[in-house]
Every structure is written in structure tokens, then in C-alpha cells.
């Protein structure tokens, strides 16, 4: 058994999500190599070599892999897949794009977005938008797996001494080209992908008062969210609505201010790693799901919190 972990990177640095994939590989239990495919990505290979426990780092550095497009990446990985029982990648958009194609080229299935490893052939993954958790087994000779990175801690790095080898069999399928890229430049992070979200509810009281929420969001470099009640009351636009009929978010930190915690709202944010609730009603249902609850008047507490964060962050 041997695992190949596909690195996620931007040609300059190794993305930390790769370490989540390494964690999954460690749970699978086999020795692992890391594959770096890109263009001008030598520095990434160096970082990969330092991951604790990595045996080898394979590097395919080629024009055809500059954007890590699925056709070229999958074909290149196929050319280098010999000898591996498991191929594991973080579930980034690059890997979600390429790995199923690789699996099909290898004639095997894929297990997408795993959140747990029970053994080398048994995995846990969310289905039905996370409303059910499935335990699945695979009998494929090569198990192609993408890993939900928020479900695994980062594996340790720094002590690794992997041997870096360049591979020369990168494939250019010539089927597509990248025309342009637009990396989001908004002032605030996108609600759906932000790692911190600050949301205001009916308790905020008015459109003017919502400025308090915005200030807190800015301090935390967070996305701005709202409950349906706040949107219906006109405090903020509905593209900020979080909930059953709004956006479903799962940030590392969700701060619910003046939100009662009706199930329709919880449906949109209960996947958050840490939930903080600030409400004047100690019996508000939000406290049943909040990791940290602060009871009191948000009009006092939110400015106080923002000021405290200013001094600490």
C-alpha cells in the first residue's frame, strides 16, 4: 500500500489544505508521497519535502500544468499513478475538477469529500447536503479520494526530509486553454466561502444599528450575514441572508448577534466550526447550539467586542 497526496498550491507556496489531505493519508496508514504539478513550482516542492513523514516528492513542472487544468493534470497523474493504492487530494476546485477525470482514466471510482477515515478501504462522507453522513467502502484497486479539508486537522510539517524527484512525463492534451482569471477583490469576503461570518438579526433593531454589525465584521475581516427577520425588516439586503432559504455557510467562526436561533436560521449555519451568540434573551434557542454565549444588550456588547478585538488582533 502506498498513498500519493496531490498538493494544492499556487506555484509559489504550498496551501495548508494539503496538510489536511496528508492527515487523511496518515489515517489511511500507508507511507505517502506528495505530487506537485505546476509551473515554476520548485518552492512548493521544497515545502512539500518538509512535511513530516513524507517519503518522496514528485514534481511535474511544465507549461501545460501552469493552471493545473483538469485534462492535463489528470493525464499527468495517470502517467504517474503506477504503484499507488490510494490517491488523495484536498477538495479544492482544482482537485474536484481533475480527480474524477483521473479516476475514470484509471478505470476506478472516486470517493468525494471524505470527512473521516475508518481504515484503508472505509470512509465517511456527507450526503444530502450534509443532512446525512454515509459510511462507505471501496474495493477498487486504486482508491481515488478527495478530502473535505475543514474535517481534518493540518498534519505536522517541518521535520520532513522527503526526496524531491522531477518527473518528465507531464501531458499536454491540448483540449482547452485558460482565457482569463478573476480573483475576487471585494472589500469583504464572500459570504459562502468566508472563514468568519458576523450576522445580525431582528434584535439589531434598525438599518442604522446594523452599522454596529458591519464594524464588527470589518474588525474580524469577516463576511456580513443576516437572519431572515433582519432582511424582512429592511435592515440589510437579502443577499446577506443566511438560513434555510438563504445561504448555507460553514465558516470557522460564526457570530450571531441579536438572532434568536429559529431552526430555519440554524439550517444555514449549524455546520460552523465555532458559534458565538450575543442576545439579550438568555432562553433564546441560539444558545442551544452556541459554543460561547454572551447574554446582554448587543448595542453595548458589540461595540465593546469590536474595541477589544482592535486591541488584541
Amino acid at each position: 500500500m502506498k498513498t500519493l497526496v496531490i498538493a494544492s498550491h499556487n506555484n509559489a507556496t504550498l496551501s495548508p489544505v494539503t496538510l489536511a489531505a496528508v492527515s487523511a493519508a496518515l489515517k489511511i496508514g500507508a507511507s505517502f508521497d506528495i505530487f506537485v504539478a505546476g509551473k515554476g513550482c520548485a518552492a512548493v516542492a521544497e515545502e512539500a519535502a518538509k512535511v513530516d513523514g513524507v517519503s518522496a516528492v514528485l514534481v511535474a513542472d511544465h507549461d501545460a500544468l501552469a493552471y493545473q487544468g483538469a485534462e492535463n493534470l489528470a493525464a499527468t497523474l495517470q502517467a504517474n499513478a503506477e504503484g499507488y493504492s490510494h490517491i488523495v487530494a484536498p477538495a479544492t476546485s482544482v482537485m474536484k475538477d481533475a480527480l474524477p477525470r483521473l479516476a475514470a482514466l484509471l478505470g476506478v471510482g472516486q470517493i468525494s469529500d471524505i470527512t473521516g477515515v475508518n481504515g484503508e478501504a472505509e470512509f465517511v462522507r456527507p450526503i444530502y447536503a450534509g443532512n446525512a453522513i454515509a459510511t462507505v467502502t471501496s474495493s477498487d484497486a486504486v482508491k481515488v479520494i478527495t478530502v473535505r479539508t475543514s474535517a481534518f486537522d493540518a498534519a505536522p510539517t517541518g521535520a520532513g526530509t522527503g526526496a524531491i524527484t522531477a518527473v518528465d512525463n507531464a501531458v499536454d492534451c491540448g483540449l482547452s486553454r485558460v482565457v482569463s482569471e478573476e480573483i475576487a477583490q471585494s472589500e469583504r469576503p464572500e459570504l459562502a466561502s468566508a472563514s468568519i461570518v458576523v450576522s445580525g438579526g431582528r434584535g439589531v433593531g434598525s438599518e442604522e444599528n446594523f452599522a454596529l454589525i458591519e464594524k464588527l465584521a470589518d474588525r474580524l475581516n469577516a463576511a456580513l450575514g443576516a437572519s431572515r427577520a433582519a432582511v424582512d425588516a429592511g435592515f440589510i439586503g437579502n443577499d446577506h441572508q443566511v438560513g434555510q432559504t438563504g445561504k448555507i455557510v460553514a465558516p470557522d467562526l460564526y457570530v450571531a448577534v441579536g438572532i434568536s436561533g429559529a431552526i430555519q436560521h440554524l439550517a444555514g449555519m449549524q455546520g460552523s466550526k465555532v458559534i458565538v451568540a450575543i442576545n439579550k434573551d438568555p432562553d433564546a434557542p441560539i444558545y442551544e447550539v452556541a459554543d460561547y454565549g454572551l447574554v446582554g444588550d448587543l448595542h453595548d456588547l458589540v461595540p465593546e467586542l469590536e474595541a477589544k478585538l482592535a486591541s488584541v488582533l
Binding site: R202, G205, S206, D232, A233, N238, Q244, T245, A262, I263, Q264, A267, P285
Partner: protein
């Protein structure tokens, strides 16, 4: 609103509502037409996203009408439901005690031998399959928004609702105008307090000789219970606690198939105390040992509520109007003494079908008249309504104990022949008394195991409405809720609505009436119970509303 011209399409018959009455009418028309060698085009409009999505009932049904419509339903393999094995009736004395009524003391109308515990939603799905096989066109996700009149004032069809209208009333990007469905006959089978039926009854003064209609609100939850607590075929009815004096109603607990039970509470909507919250009465009912012993440890699968037409014969309006007729609960065919309306609804639909077939192609077509009224009055459905005409009024007038006793006497001793002519002439909405005349009720908090809050209940009704659409609940006078209902009745909409649609909130120091239309489960209670009769329920964009499973 500047709209492109509406298209139209013609059918011989358009039926509003894919419920038991409408679908039975559809099937009967096609079957009879085939037998008579006639070609009759029938379509059914259904506002729910699928047939059955908005069907909500107890239910224990008599198969009389089904047996007539599809005599071989059993042989053909239709799994109708759980045959009734046993009847039990209880009087709940308080939150922990109950008295079981001996079999002989239960009015015959409440004995359920040979009946079935069913999901009426699934019954409708099966009827829809039969209808489609017979060539009926069924259109789920389409509302009949308004009726269409010809130049002579005859109903000549219905207009389906526009889709993709924004909250501001302007066409959105996906705007698709509705269509005019023109038909020689329009059958209204919208169920209790259908919005078109309500308008038609008023327009043609169909209720001029009848008592005002009387309504109840019926709550129900489906629970999956531990096997040891499940007694398939057991039918339990009762009344008493938690309903206080003067409040009519009763509960049911039916042990259906697949370890599921149907538990519910019906409350008459003529209650006087504005502080009453029917939802909370239902939630606390479930804590009574008689119910709790079945539900404990179980999982709540779905929740919902629907208004019920229970005025019986005395409140039955004239059924026909130029160009169509009312069937089922849209008319008021429910037999309250049996608490059963499905078999009579189906029969009324079948008779409507017969009446239409008789009239099609004759001079009657021009005026849109049929013999429906006469044919209905000759039917067993009418006879049932006749025999039970005093049941509701007796309970209203004399309360559950004396009224129940009166009914027992009327049925058991006098063989169903009415002893007195009991009338119930006060409108339900007019029965509400001022908040100051009653003590506020302190309902217990839900425990999250047997009882639950409103929003998490609505959540499992799978209710959904497109966000960007106009609010479908119309206030004739927007100032009444705060200026009138709030001081007088503590705005009871906050409590009688089973879905938390209506709230009184403080905003910028002022009290405001907030309407959360998206929560609406289409029960029609607000249209019935608002003491100011200021709320008119109109259909929201087609396809919205609850998605009930096997209710």
C-alpha cells in the same frame, strides 16, 4: 402592470383542486364518458407542487364512495391503508386523567368497523394515477387565481396565476403570465374555504338560505413510534382537556402502517377567548398520558394544520351556479357526526360528474346549468348530512357532554331522525370576545420531545414559497391589526395562525403588524377567524406551500 396577452386553452371541464372531490369528479367524468361513447376533455389544476402536497386530513375513511368509483380497487392492488381494528373513545378529565367511554355509549356514527386509517394525500396520488390513465390532464404547480365570467355573468373557466412576479408587484426576469382555462363547466374542489368558492358563494348568494358556515382548525402530526407502542389499526378519539369550557373540539390518535401514528386535535373556530392558541393547545395535548404513552421515544415526522368545514347540512350553500358547482369541503359535505368528509366529498364529485355528462351537449350548456343540486339531494351523501344535521349545532349549543348525549339519543334511540331543528346562526369570527374579558393563558414551554415550537413545526411541513413575490395575504385595511385588533383582541392572528405568519413587532418604537407569508401552510384559518374579517387569503405563486408526505 403591462402584461403580454394571456393565452387561453379550452377544456370541456376544468376542476380546481386535486383533492378527493375533484379527482373523483375527474375519474367519473372520463369513465362515464367512455361508457357513453362521448369525448370529454378534463383538466385538474392543483396549486401544490405535486398531487397530495397540500392534502391534510386525519384520516379514517369509509370506502363507500371509493367502492363505487373503482369497485376493484382492492383486487387491483391498491394498498389503501391500515384497516381499523379497534375503536376507543376517551374523555380527558385533566392533564393526567381520562375516562374511557364504553362501546355502547359511543354514538354509532363514531364506530369504525370496516373503515381504514389512510393517508388522504396518498389516496389522492392513487386517484390521480387513475385519472391520468383515463386521460385527465393534471397540472400540479398551477393555481387557479381567479374565475372567468362571460358576458352573461356565467362562469366560463379560471385564470391561472402569473409566475415570476416580484415582491414589488412588477414582472421579474422569469415572468410567465398565467393562462385562461376556458371550460363549459368549472368544478370547484379547493377544500375548506377555497378562495374562489368563497367569492362564488358571495357573488351568487348561494348561502342566502343557509346558516353561516362553521369551521374548525385541524392539527396533525405524523410520528414514528417504538414498535412496542404501536398498535396497528387502533383508532382513538376523545375530547375534554386541554380544551376549556366553551371550546368545541376533540383529538384523534390513529395507529397507521409502518409504525407510524397520526395524532391530531380539532378545535372549533367559534371559540371566544382571544388568548387561545390552538397550536399550543395541540402541543400540550400530547403530554396527556393517553397520548404520551404512544408517542414517547418516537420521532416526529411532519406537522401541519388545515381548516375544516363542519357546518353540515344547515350551513350547506346551494351547490350550483351558472357554469359550475361546488364539491367537497368547498361546499361543506363533511359529515361531522362521523368526523368524516372524504367519502362524501368523493361522492359529491362523482355526482357532479354525472350531472355534467347529462348536461353536456344539451341546451343546458348555454346557461351552464345542471341537475347537480337535485342529484346530490337524492344521494346517500345528502342523506348522511341530513341525519347528522344537528350534531354540530347540538355540540355548539349544549357543549360536549349534553350535546354528545343529545347526539347519542338522536342516533341510537331515534334512528337518526332529527328531534329538533337546531340552528347555529352566529358566524365563527363574530364569536370572539374582547381580550379584557378573558384571562391570558400561560401555555407551557415545549419540551422538545413531545411538544415543539411553531417554527420548528413549520420547518418539518417542508413549506417553501419563492421569496421574491408579493405577499399573498391581503389586508383590506392595513391599519386594523394594530389600531383595532390589537387593543381589542390582542391581535389574535399571532395565536390562531398555526404557522407563525402573523407577528406584532416593535420597530422604531412603533407596533407593527408583520406578515411572514413564506411560513403560510395554506390552512385558511386567518381568512375565517379574523374578528374584523380583514384578511383575505389569495393563492401565492403556484407550487409554493407545504410539501406534506403521507398526511
Amino acid at each position: 402592470m403591462d402584461t403580454p396577452e394571456r393565452e387561453s386553452i379550452e377544456f370541456d371541464v376544468v376542476i380546481v383542486g386535486a383533492g378527493p372531490s375533484g379527482l373523483s369528479a375527474a375519474c367519473q367524468i372520463k369513465k362515464q364518458a367512455a361508457e357513453q361513447g362521448k369525448e370529454v376533455n378534463v383538466c385538474v389544476l392543483e396549486k401544490g407542487a405535486e398531487v397530495g402536497a397540500h392534502i391534510f386530513s386525519g384520516a379514517v375513511i369509509e370506502t363507500k364512495a371509493l367502492d363505487e368509483l373503482f369497485p376493484t380497487w382492492k383486487e387491483d392492488g391498491f394498498a389503501l391503508g391500515q384497516p381499523v381494528a379497534k375503536d376507543e373513545v376517551y374523555l380527558l378529565r385533566d392533564e393526567s386523567r381520562a375516562t374511557e367511554l364504553p362501546h355502547w355509549a359511543v354514538p354509532p356514527s363514531m364506530h369504525n368497523d370496516n373503515n381504514y386509517i389512510v393517508s388522504v394525500a396518498n389516496l389522492c396520488r392513487w386517484l390521480a394515477e387513475q385519472a391520468e390513465e383515463l386521460g385527465v390532464e393534471i397540472f400540479p404547480g398551477f393555481t387557479a387565481a381567479d374565475v372567468i365570467f362571460d358576458d352573461n355573468g356565467k362562469v366560463c373557466g379560471v385564470a391561472t396565476g402569473d409566475m415570476g412576479v416580484g415582491a414589488d408587484g412588477e414582472p421579474g426576469p422569469g415572468y410567465t403570465p398565467g393562462m385562461d382555462i376556458l371550460a363549459k363547466y368549472t368544478i370547484l374542489g379547493e377544500g375548506c374555504r377555497g378562495h374562489i368558492g368563497k367569492g362564488i358563494i358571495k357573488k351568487f348568494a348561494l348561502d342566502s338560505d343557509a346558516d353561516p358556515q362553521h369551521y374548525g382548525i385541524g392539527f396533525k402530526e405524523i410520528w414514528q413510534v417504538p414498535e412496542s407502542q404501536h398498535k396497528p389499526g387502533l383508532v382513538v378519539h376523545g375530547s375534554g382537556w386541554p380544551l376549556s369550557k366553551g371550546m368545541g373540539g376533540g383529538f384523534f390518535l390513529y395507529h397507521a402502517e409502518n409504525q407510524q401514528v397520526f395524532v391530531g386535535l380539532i378545535i372549533d373556530l367559534n371559540y371566544a377567548n382571544p388568548h387561545v392558541s390552538p397550536f399550543d393547545e395541540f402541543q400540550r395535548l400530547k403530554h396527556h398520558p393517553i397520548i404520551a404513552e404512544t408517542l414517547s421515544g418516537g420521532e416526529r415526522i411532519t406537522y401541519g394544520a388545515r381548516a375544516i368545514t363542519k357546518g353540515g347540512l344547515n350551513a350547506l350553500p346551494k351547490l350550483s351556479f351558472p357554469g359550475g358547482m361546488l364539491v367537497g369541503c368547498d361546499a361543506g359535505t363533511l359529515n361531522f357526526s362521523k368526523i368524516k368528509g372524504v367519502h362524501t366529498a368523493m361522492k359529491s364529485g362523482m355526482i357532479a360528474a354525472d350531472a355534467i355528462l347529462e348536461a353536456l351537449g344539451t341546451d343546458a350548456d348555454e346557461k351552464g346549468t345542471t341537475n347537480f343540486q337535485q342529484l346530490f339531494e337524492q344521494s346517500w351523501a345528502y342523506q348522511e348530512l341530513y341525519n347528522s344535521r344537528n350534531f354540530g349545532p347540538a355540540l355548539h349549543k349544549f357543549g360536549p357532554i349534553v350535546g354528545g348525549g343529545y347526539n347519542w339519543m338522536e342516533q341510537k334511540i331515534f334512528g337518526g331522525k332529527p328531534l329538533l331543528k337546531l340552528r347555529d346562526s352566529k358566524e365563527d369570527y363574530a364569536c370572539m370576545e374582547p381580550a379584557s374579558a378573558h384571562i391570558k393563558i400561560d401555555y407551557p414551554k415545549p419540551d422538545g420531545k413531545l411538544s415543539f415550537d411553531k417554527l420548528s413545526s413549520v420547518y418539518i411541513s417542508n413549506t417553501y414559497h419563492e421569496e421574491d413575490q408579493p405577499c399573498h395575504l391581503k389586508l383590506t385595511d392595513t391599519s386594523i391589526p394594530i389600531k383595532q385588533n390589537l387593543p381589542r383582541f390582542d391581535e389574535p392572528a399571532q395565536r390562531y395562525c398555526p404557522a407563525g405568519v402573523y407577528e406584532v413587532v416593535e420597530s422604531d418604537g412603533e407596533m407593527q403588524f408583520q406578515i411572514n407569508g413564506q411560513n403560510c401552510i395554506h390552512c385558511k384559518t386567518c381568512d375565517i377567524k379574523d374578528p374584523a374579517q380583514n384578511i383575505t387569503w389569495r393563492p401565492p405563486e403556484g407550487g409554493g406551500g407545504p410539501t406534506y408526505p403521507n398526511t
